[in-house]
């Protein structure tokens, strides 16, 4: 919706073009276009034999704001939150024409829905926990993601994990959300403010899950709360998490940790409930381990491996 509303700043750079920064003098060989949004265009590029993503735009101000966020995230979290920032510079084409660009880690991945379609619904629980884990880290360092949406998430391989691109909406806690998309915005749905607080992201997280199953999205009605609940109820794969997702919609969670606790509990109680049915007569511990090899183990291994970073 926003892209349609805003003046498009098309920057078309031919593959093979070499961009050299005005200030730091690094060179980047443009390979291909990765995507385009409201603010800029993102290219795959090569520098010193390595691949990277380069975002370029005429809107120097918006770029600077994004770079500031990436710098702040770099300080608090290493490279888990958002792409790692590599360089910031200007491309002076002629005396009077200049673009701003920044170079970041290239995240090679696929969209969440396509990954889930290929690899199965059990990944939903894994990704929910993973996103909650990342959000918790982010929130603890004083930031709120803001523009959390399907478009801004990529699943990278080995091990499969969700990464965020586009930190354009990332806002300091307690301030007004910088950038949002209506479908994901609790203010649009009349269910809360646009102040940056953990519950803002948790609402958007539920909408991410809903968009996986309603790719055409859906629109507001006179009773938004009811609409959203109905949509949640309508997805079989989300049924186990229903109660928690609804709490998040209503802003009942003060932190990601609270929601993570509920989701973890749901996942482990599902394991327990299933187990007696199948291994009624077995005292063997092996089936239990195999069972654990399922969702819970996946989920927990993500949880623990993320602690290592």
């Amino acid at each position: 919706m926003r892209n349609q509303a805003w003046k498009k700043h098309n920057i078309d750079i031919r593959p093979g073009t070499v961009i050299q920064g005005k200030w730091h003098k690094n060179s980047y060989l443009i390979k291909k276009k990765l995507g385009q949004g409201a603010i800029g265009t993102v290219y795959l590029c090569e520098t010193n034999g390595k691949q990277a993503a380069l975002k370029i735009s005429e809107q120097g101000t918006s770029m600077t704001v994004e770079v500031n966020v990436l710098k702040a995230l770099k300080k608090v979290q290493g490279n888990r939150l958002g792409p790692y920032l590599l360089d910031v510079d200007d491309w002076q084409i002629t005396k009077h024409r200049k673009y701003s660009f920044y170079v970041m880690e290239y995240l090679q991945g696929e969209s969440l829905p396509s990954f889930i379609k290929k690899n199965g619904m059990e990944w939903i629980g894994v990704f929910i926990l993973q996103l909650l884990e990342d959000l918790e880290n982010l929130h603890q360092s004083g930031w709120v993601f803001g523009d959390l949406k399907l478009d801004n998430l990529l699943v990278v391989a080995s091990p499969p994990s969700v990464r965020w691109v586009d930190v354009g909406g990332t806002t300091q806690m307690g301030r007004a959300i910088k950038e949002y998309t209506e479908f994901y915005d609790r203010g649009y749905w009349g269910i809360g403010s646009r102040r940056a607080e953990p519950s803002y992201d948790l609402f958007a997280l539920v909408m991410v899950l809903l968009e996986v199953f309603y790719p055409d999205r859906f629109s507001k009605s006179p009773n938004p709360e009811q609409t959203l609940f109905k949509k949640i109820n309508g997805v079989k794969a989300l049924r186990p998490y229903n109660s928690s997702l609804k709490k998040a919609i209503l802003g009942k969670y003060q932190s990601s940790r609270e929601m993570k606790r509920d989701i973890t509990q749901i996942l482990s109680s599902r394991q327990k409930r299933r187990r007696p049915k199948r291994d009624k007569n077995q005292v063997n511990i092996l089936p239990f381990l195999i069972e654990l090899g399922g969702i819970l183990l996946l989920a927990l291994s993500y949880y623990f491996s993320s602690l290592l970073f």
Binding site: M1, R2, Q4, A5, W6, K7, W23, G60, T61, T64, V65, V67, N68, K71, V88, D89, D90, K98, S100, G174, R175, A176, I177, E182, G187, Y188, S193, R194, R195, A196
Partner: protein
Amino acid sequence: MKKGTLKQILLVTDGCSNKGEDPVATAALAHQQGIAVNVIGILDDDQTEDPEGLQEVEDVALSGGGVSQIVYQESLAQTVQMVTKQAMTQTLQGFVNNELKQILGPKQTLEDLDPEKRGEVMEVVEDMGETCDLEVLVLVDTSASMYDKIETVKEALIDLSLSLNARIGRNRFSIFSFPGRRKDVELVFDWSPRLDEISSVFPKLTSGGITPTGPAIREAMYQFGKKGLLRSLRDEKSGMEEA
């Protein structure tokens, strides 16, 4: 840097002016008095993206030191808040650029700084945008052609107040419609920190095709002036009023 108050006129229209002074000139005058003029042009659903009649939209905002955007109704809410925020940033950046020129020489602007310094300056601009006080006078075109758009305009304005009230700084809004019944503009909603009670207050739309945009902007300027013209004149260049 002192905390201050930003002033904006937000003009919402679907056509061209056809009565009274040239709105482009009046907007320039407003700008000189430290008031930014933003313009939103609403398209009919069957209109193409670049109708000639709406060229004025861009011209008025340009001379008014504000931001303009032409949109279809469905994107109105999202656009109104973005235009308002962009204009705030633009004004604050202009203010910062003036300071930079005084410190670093006439040719220096934010864009000429190296990326690191630019980042630091933008952080200051962002802080100011978050904490400054803001006054928005909304001027809504209520000529006959707006008939099927007023409901969307109301919603967009309520949404605007939701966005701005998430900021740390304070806000005040007022709404005027034009043309008024007897005058060029008519008060719809007096200065208030919130816009959520406006649902019932829009007057009946005037019939006929009179759109006195120029006089409306002049009247809006005067409304701002009523509350402290002297102060804003004293500080006209920066667009900031000292708190």
